[in-house]
């Protein structure tokens, strides 16, 4: 496992946020599929520039670079989220009304927002909250303040109804963002996240090897081989 340091993360953040995205050549990355994308050169297909800065900053706190294992930016998790939303994530959901947003949580998702709408609205309202509390956009907050704001979304301390949204709760937006972030971290790299299978290497998951006839009888010994992706690459 290569050790990740903070300056690497800062560099990623700075480049991703500062470079005018429209000018970046993306054709070379596309030729190699989403696995070959470099986050700094990636041009989002779903998120607008300010939304993208929020996503980069939020993912960076949900799975930060510090400590053991790679962070969300090093593993291209924002690319995964952008690509999934662009590809119609949530198109399988039953969306017909009437919607009863205040239904018991045990009856599941009942508000009237697709994941795409949830992201756009959630980011907009989180940005308003950040400006109100800190007079700064979310991505410019100190790490501790970012964490506090994410936590306030998670726990509905940010009251979306107060910000004019009657149906969606802050925790629902946060839950979707967190699930997608974890999915992008741990899914096969072909979806754009888990770059170079770094998350799988860190936790010890061998990916798509999918053949353990001999190993099933070997008990309590760490599996020795590193991961393979669906495209056949090894890490």
């Amino acid at each position: 496992m290569p050790k990740i340091n903070l300056s690497r993360r800062t560099l990623l953040m700075a480049t991703a946020a500062a470079v005018p995205l429209v000018s970046m050549p993306t054709y070379r990355a596309r030729a190699a599929g989403l696995e070959g994308v470099e986050l700094q050169r990636y041009q989002p297909v779903f998120f607008a520039a300010d939304e993208w800065r929020f996503i980069l900053a939020a993912c960076d706190r949900l799975i930060p670079a510090e400590g053991k294992g790679p962070g969300a930016l090093e593993t291209n998790v924002p690319v995964f989220i952008d690509q999934q939303l662009h590809a119609g994530l949530g198109g399988d959901v039953y969306m017909d009304g009437p919607h009863k947003a205040d239904a018991a949580s045990t009856l599941g998702f009942q508000h009237n927002h697709t994941p795409q709408q949830m992201y756009r609205l959630g980011i907009k309202l989180a940005a308003q909250y950040s400006e109100r509390i800190h007079r700064k956009p979310f991505d410019q907050l100190a790490p501790a303040d970012k964490d506090a704001l994410l936590s306030a979304l998670e726990k509905n301390v940010v009251d979306f109804t107060e910000l004019g949204e009657p149906s969606l709760k802050a925790s629902q937006f946060f839950g979707q963002l967190l699930d997608d972030t974890k999915n992008g971290y741990l899914a096969d790299p072909m979806y754009g996240g888990n770059k170079d299978m770094k998350a799988w290497v860190a936790i010890g998951f061998p990916g798509a090897r999918a053949a353990y006839t001999e190993w099933v009888d070997v008990h309590d010994v760490k599996y020795p081989l590193g991961p393979v992706s669906l495209s056949g690459k090894r890490a």
Binding site: L186, D188, F205, A210, A211
Partner: protein, 589 residues
């Protein structure tokens, strides 16, 4: 909308999962002209060649081979006083779709109900004092004997290549198997799956505590197997992608691997995909069906004439089609009149997750059915009457899949941030589960009907489910929790989390339980309180047969597929032996 009429067939089959595939081959072999209509897409085995299914995100998270809620949502409410709301996303259960149905991506645990499960009402009447059980409970016996159904379970075992350890061979208890199983006419066709570390630890501890563990009976075959239809399966390679995934190795028994490859070669069988049946068309007297109507892929309405109609789609899709078609009187929970929709039952699960900082479980090296279970806590095998509830569970430690999204972490681990990430690094692959899968009784107020508010994309009302946990099931959970925690403590984990229902729990549709939904069009001995006779034949419309989980009068602790296979084979036999010669009711009401 264009109206088209197809050529008439002897048998039309609605839904090409396990039940539909069994009916297809059994009736086609009889020389009948058989046509199957499948709502979902074609799912040929080559689509699942290695490594395609080794993709947790596509299959287990995004439900790649399941029907979408957009197309097949239900509505759910806890009691008749509430407005039901749609299952906008799948949670507690996830029905399949396409050729093979749920049989394409099941886990492959192929275990039979016990003799007591088959005659639960008889057991209840004998073992419980009058008034001891919830007065709203509506449990019933299955309308056949063990001796009548066992040969069909035996045949289904052979179709699937059941791998495991025999417990009761013709009344003789066998070492290493389940001593509580009903007598088998034949031993398991193939030996058991190998134990993973969790299975070995669990089995040794359970045995020490006086229980009778045995390897999970598996339709992930352990050796090369040629089934009675001539289909061949290859030994399971413990790939780790099973439950919710199609098999990448031709090892898991599915309609594709055991039946469809054979029946597709028969000239008197064909099938259409993208054919969404919207109703069964009845003759004016409503005593017989003349065929079915479906919407094809070009959105045309097509009439398919047929002499016999087999409804073999998923449990609740079968019930909904009967309601939409006016087959049988809809159930009314107030008057208890009517038969379509009654006795819906689900089931509950629970578990303790045990974390060991120094153990390597390698959770990815596993077959779907890998595990050990015991049946000591199923009805009749312990003091249910003394504890004040009826029902039971299989208690097991299984390792159905080990892919990392959704990995359980020790209590206190943050849900995100550095703590979550380091929790994944420290604890992935270092945990095992001890789990329960319970029975679930039927109640007067638990039923299915058509929703008044929500419609599907074809303009037809969604099915409405009225269901919640009852005290009987919650008391059972609390009792089982005690047993699981005792076993867990013996294993001395470094950390442990638990997930069981409390006595005030409501059914949570967001958390996956299983897709073992049953009832709604149940089999029985009287048209007064059942929709189908013992051959899954509609009491009201005699050329309509409805084999599937819908026919179970309540749920037992074993997985349903073995009995679904058996009742379908039993029904197919009755059609071949009796119905073809003399079409009409096979049982006199």
């Amino acid at each position: 909308m264009t109206n088209i009429t197809n050529d008439e067939v002897d048998v039309v089959i609605v839904g090409l999962g396990w039940a539909g595939s069994i009916m297809a081959i059994e009736l086609a072999k009889e020389g009948l002209k058989v046509r199957a209509l499948e709502r979902g897409p074609e799912r040929p085995p080559e689509d699942f060649a290695y490594p395609k299914p080794a993709d947790q995100y596509a299959y287990a998270i995004r439900n790649k081979v399941f029907v979408t809620p957009r197309d097949a949502a239900l509505t759910v409410r806890y009691n008749t006083g509430e407005t039901a709301l749609p299952t906008r996303k799948w949670g507690a259960f996830v029905p399949g779709n396409g050729v093979g149905g749920s049989g394409l991506h099941w886990t492959g645990v192929l275990i039979r109900p016990t003799q007591t499960d088959i005659k639960l009402k008889t057991y209840a009447d004998q073992a419980y004092k009058r008034g001891a059980l919830d007065p709203d409970m509506r449990i019933k016996d299955f309308p056949f004997t063990w001796e009548e159904i066992e040969p069909h379970m035996d045949k289904f075992d052979k179709i699937c290549g059941l791998s495991g350890t025999t417990g009761n061979l013709g009344g003789q208890i066998q070492p290493g198997g389940d001593p509580f199983e009903g007598p088998r006419s034949n031993p398991y066709p193939l030996p058991a799956l190998h134990d993973t570390l969790n299975s070995s630890l669990f089995a040794a501890t359970a045995r020490k505590m006086g229980y009778h563990p045995f390897p999970n009976p598996s339709a992930n075959v352990t050796q090369a197997w040629t089934n009675p239809y001539g289909a061949q399966l290859a030994p399971c390679n413990y790939c780790g992608f099973c439950s919710k995934y199609p098999c990448l190795n031709y090892s898991k028994a599915s309609p594709q691997t055991t039946i469809l490859d054979v029946v597709k070669r028969m000239p008197n069988f064909d099938y259409k995909t993208g054919a969404n049946v919207i109703r069964v068309d009845l003759h004016a007297d409503k005593k017989t069906a003349k065929g079915v109507t479906y919407i094809d892929e070009q959105q045309r309405e097509v009439f398919q004439p047929a002499k016999i109609v087999i409804l073999s789609s998923f449990q609740f899709a079968n019930v909904r089609l009967m309601l939409l078609s006016g087959i049988g009187e809809p159930y009314n929970p107030i008057t208890e009149r009517g038969v379509i929709g009654r006795n819906y039952a689900f089931l509950s699960v629970g578990d303790a997750t045990l974390f060991f900082k120094d153990k390597h479980f390698n959770p990815f090296a596993t077959a779907g059915a890998t595990g050990e279970m015991f049946n000591d806590i199923s009805p009749g095998n312990f003091d249910g009457p003394g504890l004040g509830f009826i029902g039971g569970a299989k208690i097991h430690s299984s390792q159905a899949s080990g892919a990392p999204i959704g990995t359980a972490l020790p209590p206190g681990t943050p849900a995100w941030g550095k703590g979550w990430k380091e929790g994944m690094v420290d604890w992935y692959g270092r945990a095992m589960k001890v789990s329960i899968s319970t029975s679930c009784m039927a109640y007067r107020g638990h039923y299915l009907d058509l929703d008044p508010n929500y419609k599907d994309p074809w303009g037809q009302p969604l099915l409405r489910m009225t269901f919640d946990w009852r005290q009987n099931e919650l008391k059972l959970q609390r009792h089982l929790r005690g047993i699981v925690l005792d076993i867990a403590k013996e294993l001395k984990p470094d950390a442990m989390s638990e997930n069981f229902l409390g006595l005030d729990s409501h059914w949570d549709i967001t958390k996956y339980v299983s897709t073992h939904n049953v009832g709604g069009a149940i089999m029985g001995t009287s048209p007064r309180d059942s929709a189908l006779n013992r051959y899954t034949q509609s009491w009201d419309v005699h050329n309509v047969f409805v084999p599937g989980g819908n026919a179970f009068p309540q749920n037992f602790q074993a997985n349903p597929t073995a009995l679904i296979g058996a009742i379908t084979l039993f029904a197919a036999e009755a059609i071949k032996q009796q119905y073809l010669k003399n079409p009409g009711p096979l049982v006199q009401a």
